[in-house]
């Protein structure tokens, strides 16, 4: 933390209004585009429409207070439950595989005298420069039997081609797009924190007779734990919001329903079913669950990972 300029020092007094002027644009935008929409959504989630009189004519419906009705309806909605379970499955595949690969690649890059390190680093980071929606498009064609190179290769070898877009595989196929797009960025975050470990630590470990693998397991991994935790939290947040990948794949397959993930259900409710009230309630629930999960995860791993370091 920086020390603030001392008031009443030699110089002129620091203007009292200056910091507020610097903050003003951000504060206005923050209020208008984050706080107000959140408040408005919470408000809407407690409303519903009701017919006035005979319920005919353009002004025959009014908005009334609905209590917890929308929440009760949302929470008991089997479609939301299904999509939540699906996203949990998706996260259970995506987060460990993506971070596991990111950690593996970061450790390999950090191995002394490894070949092609620069080429591998740039190539693995490259998907980060590809927008998620275009990544989904590329993989979508990869999965599409009539165009897929995998199908072509399998046919050439006389093997049965896997049905990537079928109901059995679709979860893994969608997760693969997330792994592809995210592994490089997370690898670089972990790699960067590996590079900041002082070399003397390794010297000491080598003198003690550690092999490179042992150094990786017992020295490097514990020391990059904070980065892994950071990337996990971001990955969990991203997982719960998954929307673009399945939305992009949906024109190519019948395996992805309009309520395949919770956010897709919010979209369907708000824009196709025209039920903004239950969409609002679902949005609030997703936001709360995301916050609780990421804060809970942070707390849990902080205790586990750093409990020992404060000795």
């Amino acid at each position: 933390m920086s020390s603030a300029p001392t008031a009443g020092g030699v110089g002129r007094r620091v203007s009292r209004t200056a910091p507020y002027a610097f903050i003003l644009p951000a504060a206005v935008l923050f209020v208008v585009f984050m706080l107000v929409p959140i408040a408005y959504t919470v408000f809407l989630s407690f409303r519903r429409t009701q017919a006035i009189g005979l319920g005919l004519g353009p002004n025959s419906r009014e908005q009334v207070f609905a209590g917890w009705e929308n929440y009760a309806a949302t929470l008991t909605d089997p479609e939301l439950l299904d999509s939540t379970v699906r996203v949990l499955g998706y996260g259970l595949i995506l987060v460990p595989v993506m971070l596991g690969l990111a950690l593996l690649f970061a450790l390999l890059l950090d191995t002394p005298r490894v070949l092609l390190a620069r080429f591998a680093r740039i190539s693995i980071f490259l998907p980060y420069a590809v927008p998620v929606i275009i990544a989904s498009l590329l993989w979508g064609f990869f999965y599409l039997p009539s165009v897929s190179p995998v199908t072509a290769v399998a046919e050439a070898l006389g093997l049965p081609a896997p049905d990537f877009l079928g109901l059995d595989n679709i979860l893994v196929s969608v997760a693969n797009i997330g792994v592809w797009g995210g592994v490089g960025f997370n690898m670089l975050v972990i790699y960067t924190s590996l590079r900041s470990i002082p070399q003397e630590v390794y010297e000491a470990a080598r003198l003690d007779g550690c092999s490179e693998v042992q150094i990786a397991l017992r020295v490097k991994i514990p020391m990059v734990m904070p980065s892994i935790i950071l990337t996990s939290v971001f990955s969990i947040i991203a997982t719960l919001q998954v929307f673009s990948e399945p939305k992009m794949l949906s024109p190519l397959t019948n395996s992805i329903s309009t309520t395949w993930t919770p956010l897709m259900k919010v979209y369907r409710d708000a824009f196709i079913a025209n039920d903004i009230y239950s969409a609002a309630a679902t949005s609030v629930i997703i936001a709360v669950v995301t916050l609780v999960l990421s804060l809970g995860f942070l707390r849990l791993v902080n205790n586990r990972a750093f409990g020992g370091e404060q000795r």
């Binding site: 507020y20 585009f33 929606i133 590079r195 007779g209 190519l252 997703i286």
Partner: protein, 300 residues
């Protein structure tokens, strides 16, 4: 989030000698490690390589010839894509450049000023603001798209450029990064000296703080640029007139039509290649500005 080792702190090695005596690892390159890295690189390059070859094929070749074998129709495909509805594709590219370029510049400025003020001034409400900001970092951004739509619909502002541009400017994470960078790089004593010389606070910001914050702000800019370029849900929800679409939403709508007219697949694939090239070029050119250490350092 201040739970990590202080940067530069000498870590104590608690692990004792493990595994007994071992042969020294020698001087030869670790081939297995290199091979695994190469596999990872191939996995990441494969779809990009595929789109390059696929974009060189015409409609029938796409479904008939071997997938990784290039053909000669790339220029025809680009011509056909450019002709599609009077160059709608290039309109989408231009829209994307406006959304991501203007949005990221504005976002960087707003974040830079706010982060600087939070790092360098002590004022009433600073801690409250900082905590609200931290909560903002954790609030799922995409979940906000629907609330933002509901509000802008109330103001009859949907389906305008502003509806996509304005929400993209505010970035709690960008402010957070700018604050860390300002705290680390803007020297208090120089600010004090400038004040003694009679410089105003705005002048101190533009003449002293901004120049030293440039490397950090480039990171914020790139980060925001990619985030806006990547954001699909916000423009997807906000815009209905397809002349305002960014290229991502445009390609989605094209693929959607392609589901009934596979002839459009060639256009979609060529569009994907053309859309991804500028960003990959930008990324390769600005490689050294990808200060991931800063992004990672945000928790420290």
């Amino acid at each position: 989030m201040s739970t990590t080792l202080a940067p530069g702190a000498t870590p104590t090695l608690t692990a004792g000698p493990v595994g007994g005596a071992r042969r020294p690892s020698g001087r030869r390159p670790p081939l297995l490690a290199s091979a695994v890295l190469l596999l990872g690189a191939l996995y990441c390059l494969l779809p990009v390589l595929w789109v390059v070859t696929a974009a060189t094929k015409d409609n029938t070749e796409l479904f008939s010839t071997f997938t990784f074998w290039p053909s000669g129709s790339l220029l025809d495909n680009i011509r056909e894509l450019s002709a599609y509805r009077d160059g709608l594709f290039w309109r989408w590219m231009l829209n994307t450049a406006v959304f991501a370029g203007v949005g990221a510049v504005a976002s960087t400025l707003v974040s830079g000023m706010c982060g600087y003020a939070m790092a360098k001034y002590r004022f009433r409400g600073r801690n409250v603001m900082f905590n609200v900001l931290l909560a903002g970092v954790l609030v799922p951004g995409v979940v906000l798209a629907v609330p933002q739509y509901l509000l802008l619909a109330e103001l009859s502002m949907t389906d305008t450029y502003w509806s996509v541009l304005l929400p993209s400017i505010i970035s709690p994470y960008g402010i957070y990064l700018a604050r860390i960078f300002a705290a680390a790089s803007v020297p208090d004593d120089v600010m004090e000296a400038a004040r003694t010389d009679g410089a105003g606070e705005w002048r101190i910001f533009t003449r002293i703080a901004l120049p030293v914050m440039v490397p950090g702000l480039v990171t914020v800019f790139l980060f925001q640029f990619v985030a806006i370029w990547n954001n699909f849900m916000l423009p997807f929800i906000m815009l209905s007139d397809d002349t305002r679409f960014p290229v991502t939403v445009g390609l989605y709508s094209l693929l959607n039509q392609g589901a009934s007219q596979p002839a459009l697949y060639t256009l979609v694939i060529t569009g994907a290649l053309l859309a991804v090239l500028p960003l990959i070029l930008l990324f390769l050119l600005l490689q050294r500005y990808w200060r991931v250490d800063m992004l990672a350092g945000a928790v420290k």
